[in-house]
């Protein structure tokens, strides 16, 4: 397997605070890569660097061999990186379909003018993406709520919609920030199953931040452990689990 995403010696400072410290990480094509670590370890900062929200103070981020360091978030999105957020960031007054269609927006080729006339190519494109959205709805089993405003849905379903919106971008890499946080056992199992299906049936590479060790150990192919902005371990779930530094970081010395 080749590397799809490579973090090369990336550092990130906020004034005197070191959020990421000379971090190296490789995500191979088609794998499910989990990033774990205690609170404040720099996991979300890493995601923000990858998706272009933060510009690393030092180092490079390579996507499919191309240096994308310092690209703007929308450029990164165009390059095939989609993400979900730790706190749900959906448009709560729009319905599920519209939220998902918005995810397709980055892919659409016709402009606002032809969209307003809504004829020919613009119409064909709209139909094409509407079908794409329906396939995602089918995949995530949210048919029942497709016309409901997102704000009225239970938390677990909203999380699913958020994953759906990221998938609507037809991403090559999906960044999931704590997809099962705050969920009950059943919802967690559902999401874990969807994440695996995204990986295997859609062939999307996934980088996932997660605190639920059960989920990580069950479904991840590779795990990277961060602590205070540095990588302290990396490997398969089994290797990482036995690593004394990881145990120390999680349980204290």
């Amino acid at each position: 397997m080749t590397e799809l995403l490579e973090i090369r010696n990336v550092s990130l400072h906020f004034g005197g605070i070191l959020a990421l410290n000379h971090l190296d990480m490789k995500v191979r094509q088609g794998e499910l890569h989990a990033v774990i670590g205690p609170n404040g370890a720099g996991k979300t900062s890493l995601f923000n660097c990858i998706s272009g929200v933060y510009r690393p103070s030092d180092g490079e981020i390579l996507l499919d061999g191309k240096n994308v360091t310092g690209w703007k978030p929308h450029e990164i999105a165009h390059a095939g990186v989609a993400r979900t957020f730790q706190n749900i960031e959906l448009f709560s007054h729009m319905n599920v379909i519209d939220n998902l269609l918005l995810g397709c927006h980055a892919q659409m080729r016709t402009g606002p003018l032809s969209g307003a006339i809504f004829f020919g190519r613009a119409l064909a494109e709209e139909v094409q993406y509407r079908l794409h959205v329906e396939k995602i709805i089918d995949f995530l089993e949210i048919e029942k709520v497709r016309k409901k405003p997102v704000g009225t849905l239970p938390y677990g379903v909203q999380k699913r919609v958020e994953i759906g919106r990221a998938l609507a971008m037809k991403p090559r890499i999906l960044l999931l920030d704590e997809p099962v946080a705050g969920m009950n056992v059943e919802e967690t199992e559902d999401i874990a199953r969807f994440v695996l299906d995204v990986k295997e049936e859609m062939g999307v590479t996934i980088v996932m931040i997660e605190h639920d060790m059960g989920v990580v150990m069950d479904i991840a192919d590779t795990v990277t452990v961060l602590d205070f902005g540095s990588k302290i371990a990396a490997g398969t779930p089994d290797e990482v689990q036995c690593d004394p530094r990881v145990i120390a970081a999680y349980l204290g010395e």
């Binding site: 329906e134 396939k135 089918d138 995949f139 089993e141 048919e143 029942k144 299906d197 295997e200 049936e201």
Partner: protein, 599 residues
């Protein structure tokens, strides 16, 4: 020549209706259509595909999963191969699936999706006969490598190859189907003991069609929504057999969760359901009315009695005076039309309730809002419906006259006996049970009833359920239970009192409505159990029991009741797949609760 098997009817429909829509299924948010010709082609390919895999005359094909088009393709394909199709309830757990596979000796099974495939794979080592698991929806099965698995599409592709080589083969197979062959095996829900497989031949089914077509006038323009499990004989009639007879359209909901919305979109012209769902629809209406604004509540309370009055007159066969007609027209515009539209039943003209007795209160409610339900009597062993009221002869509490071709008499002990070409061919692999059920050509139904002066049948109860109190009085528990279940807060009621001093009852709450009530009354709760044990809820249910008791004589009143602190579940073997309670099981399981009510 008149078609004498279901498959020959199918061939007739292909020519008669060719490009009319036979099936619709909502997929990706759009109703996808299948014409009769396409329907035929799918069945043709699947039949020949099964043949390629080694499915032969007399073999059994089990079908496990929620209703969908492929369910019907598989059903007809098994019959076209002169084989037998066996439906299994999608809610059955793995051990129940195993029992049926072993009992009927299926070598092939069609499983709808991952959930069902997992059940079959779990027990595949115990059923060595099993050769192939045909999967309709391959979603989530990416990682599965079991050699037994094959997708529905692959089987159809295999069939297409054979069809290209021998284009006349399928037609030949269809024409060689024999009316005396068993077409389907339907497993009874088994309220007592293990399910038994009732064998139903083409001749049985055709006889039923001949009889019912003289009572119900189904047309090609009719449409149904397939909602109950297809393995049940009633749904099989509405989704497979009636369309084959009359060319109606069958619609499949997108998923179980979206059924109510899909029903509204389709607005079917005929609607079959079981009392449980009619009860549920009624309690949803009542709850919504509680929440409605003052004006809407006022309309509801003012207009419903108008509907009641008019429907009473109509049921009694009397003419409706002009002022009541005018009021009724107003009530229709203000209440009944929007209400029926909300229920998705605006276009419907035939309403049937079956499988269990419906409470008279519920019948009156639906008749009042312009949904004239006919209660029918039927059973698997008589290939479906055997009694149904004719137009204009509907009676509250009556199930009408026998359909043409069925003879009915009441035995000395009150048991209903039936005879005719509709009587099934016997239980599969169980001649003893068959002998027990059919004696001297008469099917012993196990139900007790009576025939009134007009020749209409009334069902009292299941023979073995009749309660004889310590005082020697015969009591039909289902009448009392149905009266209790009319309350929107009661989901299930089990009356107890056989050989005891007085009647008691176990009650299961309708969680949604009681939870809603608790919220409105600021009663804190966390789950079903906390509601069930709350003193205020007990008071609420006491009120409902008192209300119901007013309908009955003193010996028939419920003296004490207990609210079950868990919901009855099929997995715990407390109810069957058709939501019928297993009395014996419940009486055994909740012995301590019952005994406490008699001390």
């Amino acid at each position: 020549m008149e078609p004498d098997t279901l498959l020959k009817l199918f061939a007739r429909n292909r020519d008669l209706f060719s490009n009319r829509v036979a099936l619709r299924e909502k997929d990706l948010g759009i109703w996808q259509r299948t014409t009769w010709r396409e329907y035929w082609e799918h069945v043709c390919r699947f039949t020949l595909g099964l043949r390629q895999l080694g499915f032969r005359k007399g073999d059994k094909l089990s079908i496990l999963g929620d209703n969908c088009r492929e369910w019907l393709y598989a059903d007809l394909a098994a019959q076209a191969s002169s084989g037998i199709s066996v439906g299994i309830y999608p809610t059955d757990v793995a051990s129940q699936v195993q029992y049926i596979l072993e009992n009927c000796g299926s070598r092939f099974i069609v499983a709808k999706d991952q959930e069902q495939v997992d059940k079959v794979l779990e027990i595949k080592d115990q059923v060595p006969l099993l050769q192939k698991i045909v999967v309709v929806d391959m979603k989530g099965l990416h990682r599965y490598r079991d050699p037994l698995l094959i997708s529905f599409a692959e089987v159809e592709a295999l069939g297409k190859e054979l069809h290209d080589q021998q284009p006349g083969l399928f037609e030949e197979m269809v024409q060689s189907t024999n009316p005396d062959d068993v077409a389907i095996i339907v497993y009874t829900s088994g309220t007592t003991g293990k399910p038994k497989g009732a064998m139903i031949t083409h001749r049985n089914v055709l006889a039923m069609i001949r009889g019912l077509s003289q009572v119900l006038d189904f047309k090609a323009s009719d449409s149904f929504v397939s909602a109950l499990p297809l393995c049940h004989i009633a749904e099989r009639m509405f989704s497979l057999i009636f369309p084959l007879w009359a060319g109606c359209t069958v619609n499949f909901a997108e998923s179980v969760a979206t059924l109510q919305d899909d029903l509204q979109e389709i607005s079917p012209t005929a609607f079959l359901n079981v009392p449980r769902i009619w009860e549920k629809m009624h309690s949803n209406v009542m709850i919504r009315m509680q929440d409605a604004v003052f004006f809407k509540r006022w309309i509801f309370n003012a207009m419903l009695p108008v509907g009641r009055k008019v429907s009473e007159l109509r049921l009694a066969g009397r003419s409706v005076p002009i002022h009541w007609r005018i009021l009724h027209a107003l009530a229709y515009l203000l209440l009944f039309r929007p209400l029926r539209n909300h229920l998705g039943l605006l276009e419907a003209r035939i309403f049937v309730s079956g499988a269990a007795p419906l409470s008279p209160d519920l019948m009156r409610f639906y008749h009042a809002i312009g949904i004239p339900i006919r209660e029918c009597y039927g059973m698997t062993e008589i290939s479906g419906i055997s009694c149904i009221p004719r137009d204009g002869e509907i009676k509250i509490g009556g199930v009408g006259k026998p359909v043409p071709g069925v003879e009915i008499k009441i035995a000395e002990d009150g048991e209903i006996l039936q005879r005719g070409e509709l009587v099934f061919a016997g239980y599969y692999g169980n001649p003893d049970a068959t002998k027990e059920a059919v004696r001297d050509g008469w099917l012993h139904t196990g139900d007790v009833g009576e025939i009134d002066a007009q020749g209409d049948l009334r069902i009292t109860d299941r023979k073995k359920d009749i309660i004889i109190t310590a005082g020697g009085k015969n009591i039909s528990p289902s009448e009392i239970e149905n009266s209790l279940k009319f309350s929107p807060y009661v989901k299930e009621a089990v009356v107890i009192g056989d050989r005891r001093k007085y009647l008691t009852c176990l009650i299961q709450l309708e969680f949604e409505t009681v939870a809603h009530w608790a919220q409105n009354n600021r009663i804190p709760y966390t789950n079903y159990k906390s509601l069930a044990t709350h003193a205020e809820v007990r008071k609420l249910i006491q009120g409902e029991v008192d209300k119901s008791n007013e309908n009955f004589a003193r010996v028939e009143t419920i003296k004490k009741f207990t609210i079950l602190d868990k919901e009855l579940d099929q997995d715990d073997e407390e109810i069957t797949a058709t939501m019928k309670v297993k009395r014996a099981m419940i009486e055994k399981k909740f012995r301590h609760l019952i005994d406490a009510m008699y001390n």
